[in-house]
Subunit: 266 residues, 3 copies
């Protein structure tokens, strides 16, 4: 498993998959830079008239509803439909699911397009599954990620999606197999949009692999370990953001394997 | 006064108020990061169908017209109305007021919703009050902040708002009391959107205090002193932006009180 | 030539031209910061009702189609028309031209407003000229910049525009004279939107000069040399982005002239 993850990290660098992102205004710059630092090629585009063309040249699509509105949600439906039509994997990041009825309705519609992967925090995953009405406080999670595990299984069974619950321990499941990733640093929660960055990287890895569980684990572990390295080299969240991109760019196999803490038991 | 300001800075960290931002594309990332670094919780959302829900879970609302258009201005009216209906404080940042008739019309409409606080540079505050036709050059101020003081008093009297004029000396008034803050560093003007960051932080502090004058003074002094620390540690505006977030995150009481330069006389 | 370029760099600092940017969401923050670091004054605005007012107070306009949609493309047409009506220079950055029919149609319409300068990578310039169907992979160039030189001459002849092809060697032509700039660092391609930053800086320099060829050469050489300095001081693309702004801010004449590698032969 561990060497497979590193092999996928190398594959992203050598294949440089094109990742089409319909994402939120807050994180567009950071997620584009994270994709570049990891060796992928980002496109940020959302106009309905061009989504078919853009999906056609992309290896994966990432849909992040962070700053959605009526126009953007229509664009997101189109992108999800085109991804399905073209047989391209797509990632749903349901930012703030549960915080408004509008967000919930858009999420419900997007789930109908059966995302290859759903990545969110515990509150968002529980809101999506309808299992719980756990309070959403902004885009941070107020429920521990393991409480959402049942919700993840339910989503995986209903939509055939892999699901990743971000938290102190990331939980990644395809419905049958489940992985627990214990990397990362608490200071990462003080930088906006690192969850969105995680989703974007997942898109890159899905673009070079047919195994969503492994691809997601590779993306999440790369980011979490880069975050550990960045936090150790930082005095606060401002430096962490810059250091994180450097760490994604320079991460080597020995460091990755030494720090990696992933297993198939809780 | 001085210890009250530090007490509010601590209160933001402990209460972590949720701040709903309808702000411009340029600064969304930076303002979200500044709110996180100060201990608050940012939401960036603007879609009209979800503003009632979003205001309901927020402690304060920040409306910044920097990259407004016809859709966004409608969203801003809705957000201001919902903030009033829910009894939540809201901040108006009239970026570029005076630069176009469209901006002035939107500002006039927003003033009708009686912002809890108006924060802008001298040109913008004068444009708002209609006292002056001081030229606007981009979003920088071309009029010294003290010249705008009359405009601030006029706005405070008409709309019941606190007003903060940013400049070399920040002037903060609620119409009866006025504070003069002499912190900050000139290099901060070479980083885009630190005025917008100031407005966002003011939102966080209004979210934990019923005294707009004191809350604004606390937010402005925290940012200005963090900016001094960041400038001292920087070779230019690129490092300053990262260092500023670190300084907001690590600011301690002794440093804050030692550097604080605020008084009630000009 | 060399001293003329430095003289223009100084002129931007002393005149601080106001540059109106209709640009993409990904790079708004970075391009605003780059303009500030170089001494110019950025405005980011796009609403159709205010474009006439905004163009009137600006020295130059930059139109970058990176995250275009139907609303923004209409705004771009208005801005280009107003720039022409007001006699202000304007720069077209055709991000991703060739990647979708929609993008190509918008570019065709914008070309009809005869940009003062077109700046793109080799794929984009070739897509614009219709000379070639070189594949577009995201917003990176897949064709060497010298292959696009014929396309640049064609565009210059048809639209009276200066053209800049970014690449390992930047090629800048006004149709009769051509300059080859051999500065920059490969790590710059790992930071999103440095091409967009280049276009924004070109706008600032066109705002203080009547010679598009020289103005473009000054902007491109300033950025490329700042990029060299930043790369030498960086461990990866995250630090490079911050260091680049510092280098734009602190660049001195001796360093600039020592590193400058520009000539009128290929």
């Amino acid at each position: 498993m561990e060497s497979k993850l590193w092999e996928l990290i190398q594959r992203v660098k050598t294949q440089s998959p094109l990742v089409l992102n319909l994402t939120n205004y807050v994180v567009m710059n950071n997620t584009a830079n994270a994709l570049l630092a990891a060796g992928a090629s980002p496109i940020m585009a959302h106009a309905r008239p061009e989504l078919r063309d853009m999906v056609a040249i992309s290896s994966a699509v990432v849909i992040n509803i962070g700053t959605l509105d009526e126009y953007w949600s229509d664009c997101m439906y189109t992108a999800a439909r085109e991804a399905n039509a073209a047989g391209k994997p797509w990632v749903l990041d349901p930012v703030g699911a549960g915080a408004s009825n509008f967000r919930n309705e858009v999420c419900a519609a997007l789930l109908g397009y059966r995302p290859s992967l759903i990545r969110g925090n515990a509150s968002e995953i529980m809101a999506l599954s309808g299992i719980s009405n756990a309070g959403t406080k902004g885009v941070d999670s107020t429920a521990a990620s393991n409480e959402a595990q049942g919700a993840a299984y339910s989503l995986a069974a209903t939509y055939g999606s892999a699901v990743c619950i971000s938290g102190a321990t990331d939980i990644i499941t395809n419905g049958s197999d489940t992985l627990y990733l214990r990397n990362g640093d608490p200071m990462m929660t003080k930088v906006t949009g690192l969850g969105c960055t995680a989703s974007a990287l997942c898109g890159a890895f899905l673009g070079v692999s047919d195994e969503p569980l492994t691809a997601t684990a590779a993306a999440m572990s790369m980011l979490a370990i880069a975050g550990e390295l960045a936090a150790a080299a930082s005095n606060g969240p401002g430096s962490l953001q810059a250091q994180l991109l450097d760490a994604l760019y320079t991460l080597d196999e020995a460091t990755f394997l030494q720090r990696l803490n992933i297993s198939s038991h809780a």
